[in-house]
Symmetry: C2
Subunit: 321 residues, 2 copies
């Protein structure tokens, strides 16, 4: 198999596996697939789930798109070549229970060709990030630890570096640099070189892509049956407003799609199902809502934080000595 | 009074008068004022109304801002001068009843000074546009006719020209050029010259600003007690999603504010209170919802349309001959 074929096969396999585990976690709703074609070349498989027992709205999409390098790509994206190819998976899941976090992930490969059709350039990008509405430190630790483990097999510098890139990307710069959520990992423009070949980067993407189930599903199962109030739902919808603001004002992928004739419904499936915008809404200082807001304003090193549970476990262990 | 003083006095008087009539139309809720200052110079009076009997969320804001021309203004806005001044009124009203349309208006003056503090350039901009969720042709006609009357006193070419500018500005270009609503008037960069002095342009702004009450309030009073279903509300929230998309992706004023340290809460008060984003939502062909969508996709010359009521009135009149 060529690299392209390997990558496409992986992305489609990952889409199938993720949809299966999400359907299992939901227990009621099923994904519906919309296959679409792009007039300029390629197409995609958009899979959406809606009004489930757990997932209010979500999409797990793959796309394989290609074409000639246009003048707009040359000037606006500084892409220099004859033709290009891009293939990736992108998902956003919005649960209905405000104690279950929203999650986003994206893994993609880009290739650039010369007139002879030879690969001139190739790069990988990807990441997964969590957007909770209430903060459970143990969930944050579990999520980050899972991606640290997935990255550590490749390079011990990756997790801290990709975590910082993530914290600095998903930012509502117009709101005092408030982050969309509590981060995860994000990397882009990773090119094979003499030290790290294509297989290395495909391997990293597979490791991180596969980690999604382990990173997210246990959190869903732990929180999905927690009772919640109208006030909790209200806060979730306020925070979903910030999600909309980030995606429509700052997200490079969304804006690129909107401005280059992408498939609108597949791009905007990322927007939350129900949203509230209230004038100057501020959570009460010291409340659970404020605790989440503070975590978004001040990114933390989750893996150096000791939880109350851990303290208890250690206290027990030392008492029994 | 200087031109600046005349303009400021008018804008503040208009804010007072508009808030008064909107409170009367609502019958329950009152505007709350947040006065704010801008560190770089000036400030504003943000007046918001929320959870009223008629108005679910709204803001009627004035601002008077000034400062030195920054490098960013020079390069990004092509503004060449030593210092500047801007003053305007901006309002957005989101009623709760889906049969009452959302309305937006904005009237502003901009001045540019040389190092000696002399006026180098001055221009006026403004407009008012209607965003209904259901189409009542008689309301559309009334709204457009009111602004045509306000413009015709100054130049018979203004209404058709400003109507077209409005139709071409409030557009979700990423959705097949779907308009945000059914338009109104919009003009910008109108500079005094030997034929039309400052008083002319102030006069036009006053005529259009004053027309707001006559254009909007009768529609509110006619529709506010119409019974509606959950399905009507659902459709309103879907359409409000389009309002969010336009304001965050395309609106120059919003994006300029967000990217230049404007007062975020005053800028984003324009966003609707509750919003829905559903994957690939399409109204049923031929439904009342689709009728509105078609009006947004294909702007019409409202003043050349004859309503059923008018036809009946004419039929009666000719029968009685």
């Amino acid at each position: 198999m060529t690299i392209k074929e390997t990558w496409i096969a992986y992305i489609h396999d990952l889409q199938d596996r993720i949809c299966t585990v999400l359907e299992e976690a939901d227990g009621t709703a099923k994904f519906i697939e919309d296959a679409w074609e792009r007039p300029e070349g390629g197409g995609g498989k958009t899979r959406v789930i809606a009004n489930g027992a757990v997932f209010e709205k979500g999409g797990v999409n793959t796309s394989i798109v290609f074409g000639e390098v246009t003048e707009a790509m040359r000037t606006q994206l500084k892409i220099d070549g004859h033709s290009w190819f891009a293939c990736g998976l992108s998902l956003v899941i919005h649960p209905s229970n405000p104690f279950v976090p929203t999650v986003h992930c994206n893994y993609r490969m880009f290739e650039l060709y010369n007139e002879a059709g030879e690969v001139m350039d190739r790069w990988f990008g990807g990441g997964t990030d969590l957007t909770p509405y209430y903060l459970f430190e143990e969930d944050a630790k579990h999520f980050h630890q899972t991606y640290k483990d997935a990255c550590d097999k490749f390079d011990l510098n990756f997790y801290p570096s990709f975590k910082e890139t993530c914290d600095n990307y998903f930012v509502n710069f117009h709101r005092n640099n408030e982050r969309r959520g509590i981060g995860g990992i994000f990397y882009d423009y990773q090119r094979p070189d003499e030290n790290r070949d294509v297989d290395f980067w495909v391997g990293l993407a597979k490791s991180c892509g596969n980690a999604f189930m382990q990173a997210y599903i246990p959190i869903v199962n732990k929180r999905k049956d927690m009772p919640y109030t109208e006030a909790n739902k209200h806060w979730q919808e306020i925070r979903r407003g910030r999600y909309v603001e980030f995606n429509l004002v700052h997200d490079r992928g969304t804006l690129f799609g909107l401005k280059t004739n992408g498939r609108i419904e597949s791009i905007l499936m990322s927007l939350p199902p129900t949203v509230r915008f209230e004038y100057n809404y501020q959570p009460i200082a010291g409340s659970k809502e404020d605790e989440l807001l503070q975590a978004c304003l001040h990114p933390r090193d989750w893996l150096s934080i000791v939880t109350e549970e851990e303290k208890l476990a250690w206290a027990k262990a030392s008492n029994s000595c």
